[in-house]
């Protein structure tokens, strides 16, 4: 409850540019949560951001070219991302571990080359611009303009919360148990009837579906996508969020993306050390890996208790505003 109240009050405490960052942060939470689902089976992909891009391009093109209404195009874009993963899994899951990592990287680069090479319909290196935004809601007494970051923040928050909840349910079900089992002993899992290829594919497809949703949310917010936005640099950020946050628990990667974004975008930007920002950011990463090898999640319980006390204060202060 405190968490929801805090999330509801949050944008009103931020500046305009910080609100924009908050929107991207919410989208990145879904990206990293979906990535964690894939890592449950023990496979780390380098193509996850590209898959997010597949969702973004697909949703944008469906809306721009075919006039599909935007919320529907988002869902269809996610389905196309999932279908792409299903096709890619046929060659990729013949590999494991390091080979899968490289294979997924290569597959991602092929997709990015297709975007660059085929100007029609993908717009080439410049990508797609003027992507339809979410339609404004205007029903007399209520009108919501999704150009406003605050409004888009709430929209993204609702969609992402629902998606994260579904991911959580999957992990806690027998499907999640089976994913873990494949990770720790795939031969033993096979011996009691687990089709490891099917389950790896399932994890990849589900993760890609939600990455596609994140991509669609991104495309219709920014209004433009290009191949560079989904390059491997961006993938490294996802890896860093997951590793610094820790992947042993469900909330580890969420913690990672939130803490690192706050440090990078708000604290360091606020300090005005703009040119030295990557340097300091890098130092923080090295220190956190050195001194918190199990990720921020190992700090979890203590941190949460402290945060909740702090949040309790803000909720009371913000409660009178509306």
């Amino acid at each position: 409850m405190f968490l929801f109240a805090a999330l509801a009050v949050l944008p009103y405490l931020l500046s305009y540019s910080q609100q924009e960052i908050a929107v991207l942060l919410v989208i990145n939470v879904l990206l990293v949560c979906s990535y964690r689902l894939l890592t449950l089976t023990g496979e780390w992909s380098l193509g996850h951001v590209v898959i997010m891009g597949v969702g973004a391009y697909a949703s944008a093109l469906l809306a721009k070219r075919l006039g599909v209404p935007v919320p529907l195009s988002l869902l269809l874009g996610a389905c196309i991302a999932a279908a792409t993963a299903a096709v890619l899994s046929i060659p990729l899951f013949r590999m494991k571990g390091f080979y899968f990592l490289i294979g997924s990287f290569a597959a991602g680069e092929i997709i990015r080359l297709i975007w660059k090479r085929f100007t029609n319909p993908f717009g080439g290196p410049k990508g797609l611009k003027r992507i339809d935004p979410f339609p404004d809601i205007d029903i007399g007494f209520l009108s919501i303009d999704f150009y406003e970051p605050v409004n888009y923040y709430f929209l993204a928050l609702i969609i992402v919360s629902a998606s994260v909840f579904i991911l959580y349910r999957i992990e806690r079900s027998r499907i999640g148990l089976t994913f873990h089992a494949i990770h720790w002993q795939d031969r033993l899992a096979e011996s009691v009837g687990v089709d490891t290829f099917r389950y790896r594919t399932l994890a990849f497809v589900i993760a890609s579906f939600f990455a596609g949703i994140a991509g669609g949310l991104y495309a219709h917010y920014i209004g433009a996508v290009n191949p560079t936005r989904f390059s491997v640099d961006q993938m490294v950020y996802v890896l860093v969020w997951a590793i610094v946050g820790g992947t042993a628990t469900f909330y580890g990667p969420i913690l990672g993306v939130v803490v690192l974004t706050v440090i990078n975008e708000i604290v360091l930007r606020g300090l005005g050390v703009d040119t030295a920002r990557p340097l300091i950011y890098g130092a923080i990463l090295i220190l956190s890996v050195l001194y918190l090898p199990n990720g921020l999640e190992s700090l979890g319980p203590r941190l949460r208790a402290r945060w909740q006390r702090w949040r309790g204060g803000t909720v009371m202060a913000g409660g009178e505003a509306p």
């Binding site: 720790w184 002993q185 033993l188 096979e190």
Partner: protein, 274 residues
């Protein structure tokens, strides 16, 4: 022998597996009758483990066939064979070490606890899951591990881990259970207990086939024994027949005499056989 007229539940015909130039299994034949405990023995390097890996679908045979319930299953995947009722165990403590004891056995119920994706999501699989939990606990109880259900596996002593490996396999409701060296690393008392359990598994109607080095255990436990040497069949018969077969004695003693470096090791095997 009326048994001979029956169709074997598991059979290999001219089974061959090559790795590059090495022939690990060479035109090997055996047949396992339903409801028996069947031993597969042979000197080190005879190809027992490779044979096991081919039967259980980890390797495809280079040539020849494996028949399960009269169906040619050569080259099928391990998970497909498991679905048909052919379940194997592994040497040592191959377990989900990071899971609790109960969760290990719950994974073993994979095939028995089917549910659709959305019913998992919505939690409507609760009935089949409760049933799976029940059967998992029953499987633990069979091996006397029920009081350890919530322990992490890594806390279990070696003997218990071996039992748990069997409990996972039994939870999958096998028709044929393949045991890969079930007595290795066990003290005589644990071996005795395990032998009793294997007999009880057979008495439940499960056919058991095992690879094992402990000759005394094999001779006491098995109804039928297949001996292989250099990847091929040496003899198949009752423990009595195998024990006194000159070819078997020679295989164990002879190979030891031929390769002096391995002498003591081979002699151990021969002591057991004699």
């Amino acid at each position: 022998m009326n048994g001979q007229d029956e169709q074997p539940i598991l059979e290999a015909r001219h089974l061959t597996r090559r790795f590059g130039g090495l022939v690990a299994v060479n035109k090997f034949n055996f047949s396992v009758r339903a409801g028996t405990i069947h031993g597969l023995i042979g000197p080190n390097g005879a190809g027992k483990t490779t044979t096991f890996n081919v039967i259980s679908g980890y390797y495809a045979p280079t040539e020849g066939q494996v028949f399960f319930r009269g169906i040619d299953v050569s080259g099928r995947k391990t998970s497909q064979l498991a679905e048909m009722g052919l379940i194997r165990t592994f040497q040592g403590s191959t377990l989900f070490q990071e899971f609790s004891v109960l969760d290990n056995v719950r994974v073993g119920r994979h095939l028995g606890a089917r549910a659709g994706f959305f019913s998992r999501l919505l939690g409507t699989d609760v009935l089949s899951e409760r049933k799976a939990d029940e059967m998992a606990r029953e499987s633990l109880a069979f091996f006397g591990l029920e009081h350890l259900a919530d322990e992490p596996v890594s806390n279990l002593p070696h003997g218990h881990q071996r039992m748990l490996g069997m409990a996972v396999a039994l939870a999958a409701e096998p028709e044929v259970l393949l045991l890969d060296e079930p007595f290795t690393g066990m003290n005589p008392e644990e071996t005795g207990r395990m032998m009793t359990l294997v007999r009880r598994i057979r008495d439940r109607g499960v056919t058991v086939m095992l690879v094992e080095h402990d000759m005394r255990a094999v001779m006491n436990l098995c109804d039928r024994i297949t001996v292989m040497n250099f990847g091929a069949l040496l003899i198949e018969g009752s423990p009595e027949a195998v024990r006194h077969d000159p070819a078997v004695i020679e295989a164990y003693l002879g190979s030891g005499a031929a390769r002096d470096a391995d002498g003591p090791k081979r002699a151990d095997g021969a002591d057991g056989a004699a």
